[in-house]
């Protein structure tokens, strides 16, 4: 019985892993194959003739490098903004009982109810009048607005689980409220913050719609690629897919390591 259970486990995990990894693997293989190889059918599981042609083409095409840079800048600004806004607000939600707390929580989630395509024209007009149009800060602001609701909810959930008594003990020994927060609560909740950062990074890195309508010249990578995807040659698509997913995967691995260390893995 035990063997059977183990066997079932192995099969399930193999299927799930293949489900996730196979597309990434195929994209990677095609990215490093020659242009002709990409069109061949059936596909080879290993690159037959290794080639950097597609990657060269991808990076030498107009706007790719600058949009790659823009994506990193926007994601970075978004991370900073989300960090500075969500930590205090999550703290307030988890530690204080103030009037309208519950409705405010729902209100925060409601901001995600409106689909961005519906807002496209008014939002862009508004951005033009604010001179935020075609501006990386403008894109970061909208990404912050998109990531904040879930970030606040994730974080306040984490803060609630950490007993208030630790902070109170620190205060008894003479720490200020801020010091108690910085020295006690913050280190204990780091894994949660890491998880929130992953979420925020992915939100910003993958967001396409707002980034493409709110910018003209200063595109992010996802907006840049989406724009071209429709009618681009196959090898460009593979290279684009590769460079859209790889930074996100690296970021997750980097942060995940941290997450595991703090929580001891599972």
């Amino acid at each position: 019985m035990k063997i059977f259970k183990k066997f079932a486990q192995i099969i399930t995990f193999t299927i799930i892993s293949l489900w996730v990894l196979l597309p990434v693997f195929l994209i990677t293989v095609s990215t490093f194959s020659s242009k002709q190889e990409v069109y061949k059918w059936p596909k080879n599981l290993l690159p037959k003739d290794f080639s950097l042609e597609s990657i060269k083409f991808f990076f030498s095409s107009y706007g790719t490098i600058s949009s790659f840079k823009n994506s990193l800048i926007v994601a970075f600004i978004t991370l900073i903004l989300v960090l500075f806004i969500s930590i205090p607000s999550a703290y307030a939600f988890s530690r204080y009982y103030f009037k309208g707390r519950e409705s405010l929580k729902i209100f925060i989630l409601m901001t995600r109810m409106l689909p961005i395509p519906l807002l496209a024209v008014p939002l862009t007009s508004f951005y033009i009048t604010l001179s935020l149009y075609d501006n990386l800060l403008g894109v970061a602001l909208i990404h912050t607005a998109m990531a904040l609701p879930f970030s606040i909810i994730i974080l306040s959930g984490i803060f609630i689980r950490i007993s208030k008594e630790y902070e109170e003990a620190a205060i008894v020994f003479g720490a200020s409220k801020l010091k108690a927060f910085l020295k006690i609560l913050l280190p204990l909740s780091l894994p949660g913050i890491a998880a929130m950062l992953i979420f925020t990074f992915i939100t910003s890195w993958n967001e396409v719609f707002a980034a493409s309508i709110l910018t003209v010249e200063n595109r992010t990578l996802s907006a840049h690629i989406l724009n071209l995807l429709d009618a681009s040659p196959l090898y460009f698509k593979y290279a684009g897919g590769f460079f859209l997913s790889v930074p996100a995967i690296i970021f997750i691995f980097f942060i995940r390591n941290y997450l595991m260390k703090m929580w001891g893995g599972f």
Partner: protein, 413 residues
């Protein structure tokens, strides 16, 4: 050094933002920037930022800038139908157009037929595209005996693909019937006119029923991958299919990559004639354009015969002005240009336009043809049960929008 100085000069110069739903594919856009726009930049000492956009983004952006009464975009390039629903956002180009005519720029007559919006001339014709049939040379030996590839009838086409299936066991004919494929254009602009002489008004006629039964038959020998293909260049290159139909821009990379392996043949004929679609795109100047004068000079530059020939050479888009020679073009492109010319000068031509004036209901028009295709061909229903219902829908659509019927329907009494 010269280049550096040039870059330095450009750096301090004005920028002109040019948004376009045409020449979006990366290789075309790249080529356009390097070979056409850079020439204009040098002559006029201005930097042109050429931005590809899909139709939704194009419309949203023009609209948003118009509503904010302030914009960045100085020039907009799009299909005739891209401009119609946002016609109020563009300036009247009537005087500019007559100036161009005085400067001996002669547009093809059909190109000036559809550029009006509430009395305004909203765009200047820019590029022309169409759809072509392409065959791998391997398919030629299976042609029905005694048939000339350029004077095929739709029946010959059926016999041809059926023959291939019988001899090789493979379905080597393909259509772009995937979710974003253009099969609806094949239906309303190729088959309908060829079988019924109209796109819309003979929607449920006896000829139409005959046509749909024909499509059912053809579908039997059509590669099942067609249901997911969005463009036919890839299946042609991978040789999943030997014979395919698609828009030039979606099929041309196959011909350019392997010009010796493929032939372009004229659209087959139905009993009423040879139906084909001509697609027209144009250039418009938004009301909020910050550098209108430069936009005018760029339009004038882009419609010059020598530049139109350059664009054909580099991208395969056909000119909208008269008197252009095809000599000295790249093999694949020359093949396409000659193929289209041959098709356009063929006998019994029925030219269709994609209907304009439907604005935001444009999608509904194409959806009707796709839905009927799904019902009759995929679900194998009887055309007589399906067509009358959809005919009412399509007529209602044109009435609601007050749109006039496109050619060839408007010429049928």
């Amino acid at each position: 050094m010269g280049n550096l100085l040039f870059l330095f000069l450009l750096f301090g110069l004005n920028k002109l933002y040019f948004i376009s739903t045409q020449l979006v594919p990366i290789e075309e856009a790249e080529w356009f920037r390097k070979n056409v726009l850079s020439e204009f930049e040098k002559r006029n000492k201005i930097k042109v930022i050429f931005l590809g956009a899909n139709y939704g983004e194009f419309q949203d952006r023009i609209n948003a800038e118009y509503k904010a009464k302030k914009g960045k975009i100085s020039l907009a390039g799009g299909l005739s139908s891209d401009f119609e629903s946002i016609g109020e956002a563009f300036i009247d180009l009537k005087n500019f157009l007559s100036n161009l005519k005085k400067k001996k720029i002669n547009f093809l007559p059909f190109a000036l037929k559809y550029n009006k919006y509430k009395g305004k001339t909203i765009y200047i014709p820019w590029l022309q595209g169409t759809y072509i049939f392409v065959a791998n040379k391997k398919a030629l030996e299976y042609l029905p005996p005694g048939v000339n590839i350029d004077s095929l009838t739709y029946n010959d086409l059926l016999l041809w693909v059926k023959g291939i299936w019988e001899k090789t066991g493979e379905r080597k004919f393909g259509l772009p019937a995937g979710p974003r494929g253009l099969i609806h254009r094949f239906l309303h602009g190729y088959l309908y006119p060829s079988f019924t002489e109209a796109q819309i008004i003979k929607f449920d006629s006896e000829d139409a029923i005959e046509m749909w039964n024909y499509v059912k038959n053809l579908w039997k020998y059509t590669n099942p991958g067609s249901a997911r293909w969005e463009k036919m260049d890839t299946p042609l290159l991978s040789e999943e299919v030997w014979i395919a139909w698609d828009h030039i821009s979606r099929i041309k990379s196959a011909i350019i990559e392997r010009p010796d392996d493929f032939v372009i043949f004229s659209s087959p004929m139905g009993k009423k004639g040879r139906g084909i679609i001509v697609v027209l795109s144009g250039l418009a100047v938004p009301e909020t354009a910050p550098s209108k004068d430069y936009a005018f000079s760029l339009i004038e530059f882009l419609v010059k015969p020598e530049i139109q020939r350059e664009i054909l050479k580099g991208t395969g888009f056909l000119p909208v002005v008269e008197n252009i020679s095809f000599e000295g073009l790249e093999k694949g492109i020359k093949k396409i240009a000659e193929g289209v010319k041959k098709q356009n000068s063929g006998k019994n031509l029925i030219v269709s336009f994609i209907p304009g004036g439907l604005g935001n209901k444009q999608g509904e028009f194409t959806k009707i043809y796709r839905d009927v295709f799904k019902e009759i061909v995929i679900k194998n229903k009887n055309p007589m049960d399906i067509l009358p219902f959809y005919k009412k829908k399509i007529i209602k659509l044109f009435k609601e929008k007050g749109a006039s019927l496109p050619p060839p329907d408007n010429e049928i009494k």
